[in-house]
C-alpha cells in the first residue's frame, strides 16, 4: 500500500509518482497473471464454481489499491484482483480462496471473489450487487464515533450495479453523513450480457452525482496515469474530510463475465475503440516511453511475477482442504446460544 501524491510540479512529486506508477503496474501484472492462472486451473478442473477475471480493469483497480493505506477500508468487487493485491492481499490468500484451502481467510466456506479480512478493512463481498457500499459507510461512521480521522473507504461497483436500490440508498447515506467514501464505478459497458443501453438512460453515469450532492470525476479506465490521478485525488479529498466522491471510469471488460462465458455478445466496434485498449499494454508502453523500464526489465518482472504465482499456487495446492468432520457447524459466535437439534444431526456415518 503506497500513498500517491499528486500535486504535479516538484521533482520530488515526480519521483513519487513514478514510484507509485511502478508499484501499481507491478500489481496490475501480478493480477493479470494470477487471473490467467486461475483461468487455467479452472479449465483443468482444479477450481470449483466460477472464476471471474479483471482483465482490462487492472489499471483502475490497482490505482484504487495503491491509493489506500492501512486503516482505510476497501470493498472490492469481482474484477478487483489488482486492487486487492495492492491493498495488501497476498497471492497465497487469493489462491487459498479459489482453491478452497482450509488455511485461507474464508476456510473453504466461501470461494473465488468472496474473500476478505473485515477486521483489516478489507471487506469480503457478498454477491448481492451494491450491498457492500453501506457496509463501508458503517465502518467510516464507526471511525467517526471512535474519533479516528483521516481514513477513507472505497467501494467498487460496475455499471450494472448502479441500477440497484442498494447503490442508491448507500450513496445517499454517505452524502447525508458526509462520509469519506469514494465510490468507484467501473463502467465496462456490460453487466454480464446486458449493454448499458438496457441498464440506464442517463447521458453519462457522472450525471448521477449532483442528484446525491456528491462530487464526481470521470476517468479513462484504460490509462493507469489517469486512474492514479483521479482515484488519488478522490481519496485525498475524502481523507481531508471533504465528503464522498463518485469516480466513473470508462473501460471495457476484456473477458467473459466469468470464465464460462465467451462474451460473444460484446460489440466488436467497442473492442477496437479506445476504451477497448488493454490497460496493461498501455501501461507497458508508458513505462517504455518514460524510460522507467525497457523490454528486458518488463520480461524480467513478468518472469518474477510468474514465479511468485507458481510458487504460491504450488504451496496452496498442498494445503489441506476443509474437513467436514472437524468443521464446527455453527453460524453464530455465541456458543451458548447455538443449538443443534438431534433430528438435524443424524449421523451420516
Amino acid at each position: 500500500m503506497l500513498q500517491t501524491v499528486l500535486e504535479p510540479g516538484t521533482a520530488e512529486n515526480a519521483a513519487l509518482f513514478r514510484e507509485t506508477y511502478l508499484a501499481a503496474y507491478r500489481f496490475m501484472l501480478l493480477a493479470r497473471l494470477l487471473d490467467d492462472k486461475f483461468a487455467a486451473l479452472w479449465r483443468s478442473g482444479r477450481i470449483h464454481g466460477g472464476v471471474f477475471l479483471g482483465r482490462g480493469q487492472e489499471a483502475l483497480s490497482a490505482a484504487t489499491g495503491v491509493s489506500l493505506k492501512k486503516g482505510d477500508v476497501f470493498a472490492p468487487l469481482i474484477r478487483d484482483a489488482a486492487g486487492r493485491l495492492a491493498f495488501g492481499e497476498t497471492v497465497r490468500d487469493a489462491a487459498r480462496t479459489y482453491l478452497g484451502s482450509a488455511l485461507g481467510p474464508m476456510r473453504g466456506r466461501d470461494g473465488n471473489v468472496h474473500r476478505g479480512k473485515p477486521r483489516e478493512g478489507y471487506l469480503p463481498m457478498i454477491s448481492h450487487l451494491g450491498a457492500m457500499i453501506s457496509v463501508v459507510n458503517g465502518i467510516l461512521l464507526a471511525h467517526r464515533f471512535k474519533k479516528i480521522s483521516g481514513t477513507v473507504g472505497v467501494a467498487s461497483i460496475g455499471d450494472g450495479a448502479t441500477s440497484t436500490g442498494a447503490f442508491h440508498e448507500a450513496l445517499n447515506q454517505a452524502a447525508v453523513e458526509k462520509l469519506p467514501l469514494v465510490l468507484v464505478v467501473a463502467d465496462n459497458q456490460y453487466a454480464y450480457s446486458t449493454p448499458t443501453a438496457r441498464q440506464f438512460a442517463c447521458r453519462d453515469l457522472a450525471d448521477k452525482a449532483p442528484g446525491y450532492g456528491v462530487e464526481v470525476d470521470s476517468v479513462d479506465g484504460t490509462d493507469l496515469s489517469a486512474c492514479l490521478k483521479s482515484i488519488g485525488q478522490a481519496v485525498a479529498h475524502a481523507r481531508a474530510g471533504r465528503g464522498p466522491r463518485l469516480v466513473i471510469a470508462t473501460l471495457l471488460r476484456l473477458c467473459g463475465h466469468g470464465e464460462h462465458d465467451d462474451a460473444g455478445y460484446i460489440d466488436p466496434q467497442l473492442k477496437t475503440s479506445p476504451i477497448g485498449r488493454d490497460c496493461l499494454k498501455v501501461a507497458e508502453e508508458h513505462l517504455v516511453r518514460q524510460k522507467w523500464a525497457d523490454a528486458t526489465t518488463l520480461a524480467t518482472w513478468r518472469s518474477e511475477v510468474t514465479h511468485e504465482i507458481e510458487e504460491a499456487i504450488a504451496q496452496v495446492q498442498r494445503e489441506p482442504a476443509p474437513d467436514p468432520f472437524a468443521e464446527e457447524w455453527r453460524a453464530i459466535s455465541s456458543r451458548h446460544l447455538s443449538e443443534t437439534h438431534a433430528d438435524n444431526e443424524v449421523d451420516p456415518a
Binding site: 457478498i126 457496509v135 464507526a142 447515506q173 451458548h336
Partner: protein
Amino acid sequence: MSVTYLEAIREAQAHALRDDPRVFIYGQDVGAFGGAFKATKNLASEFPGRVLDSPISEDAIMGLAVGAAIEGMRPIVEMQFADFSTVGFNQIVNQAATLFWRTNVPCPITVRLPFGGTSGSGPFHSQCMETVYAHYPGLIVLTPATVEDAYSMLLEAVAIDDPVIFCEHKFLYYHLKAERLPSEALPVGKARIAREGRDMTIVAYSAMVHEALEAAKELTPEGWEVEVVDLRSVKPIDTDTVMASVARTGRLLCVGEAWSWGGATAEIIARVVTEGYGLLDAPPQRLNAKDTPVPYHPNLWAAHRPTARAIAAAARKLLRL
C-alpha cells in the same frame, strides 16, 4: 410508579447507551422526535450524537449497522415497523447473518422490530416476521412477552455478539405494565413457565402469552389446570423446558400470531414429536393467524389472530382427545 413495556425498551436503550460507549441508535425519526412509538424519547438529547435519524433506506440502514459492528460498535437499529424490514431483508439475512460464519468476525447488531397486530393497523403495519428471520442461520430472534423481559432481553441483545432480531410487540407497548424494572432475569435461550398446570401445555410467545394465560384462566372453573410456557426466544428455542412441560402434562397446544406455514408453532411441534414422541397422550395441536394478510377492520382482525377465546376452544377440544 409503574413502567410500561415501551418504557422498558426505552430504559434498556438508555442503560445500554450509558454503560457502553460502543452503542448507538440508528433509524427513522429516532432522534429528536424519539421514534414513531417514542421508544427513543429523549435519548438523542441525553446522548448527543449517538442517536441518529436515518434516511428512508432500510437496506442502507442495515448495511451501515453491519459495517459499524465490524468496526467494534454495537448498533441498535429501529425499524419503524417490522413490516418495513422486508426492504432491508437482504442485508439482514445475507450480510449480517453470514458475517461470523464466513469470516469469524462477530456481528453484534440489535434490530428492533416493532411487530404484531393491533386493531386498525392493516396488512402492512401488523406483520409478524419472526418466522422468516428464524429460518436463517446466523440470527437470534427474541420475542419478549413481559415488561421485565422487554427490558432485560433488550439489554442482553445488545451484549450478544451476534445479530439479534428483537421482536417487540406493539400491542403490548402501552397497556402492559410492571411495578419496576427487573434487576435479575432469566438469560436469553431459556423459556419460562408463565403458569403452572397439570392437564396440558400451551406454548406461546410475545402477545400470545397473554391470550394463552387468559385462556388458561377461562378453563380453570371447568376443572382444567393448563400450563403456559412463554418461549421468550424463538431462535434459539428452549426445547428442554417445552419437553419437560409436555412430559408433565401429556398435551401440547402451540399458539402463534404468525402465519401457520413453517411458523414457530410448526417448529415446536416438529421438535417435540421428533425428540419426545412418547411424552404425548394426544396429538399436539397448533393455533395460528388465518392464512391471509392481517386485516384492517377490528372485527376481522379479532377473528384473524388467535384470541383467548379461540385458544380456550382449541384447548377444550384437545383436552377431550
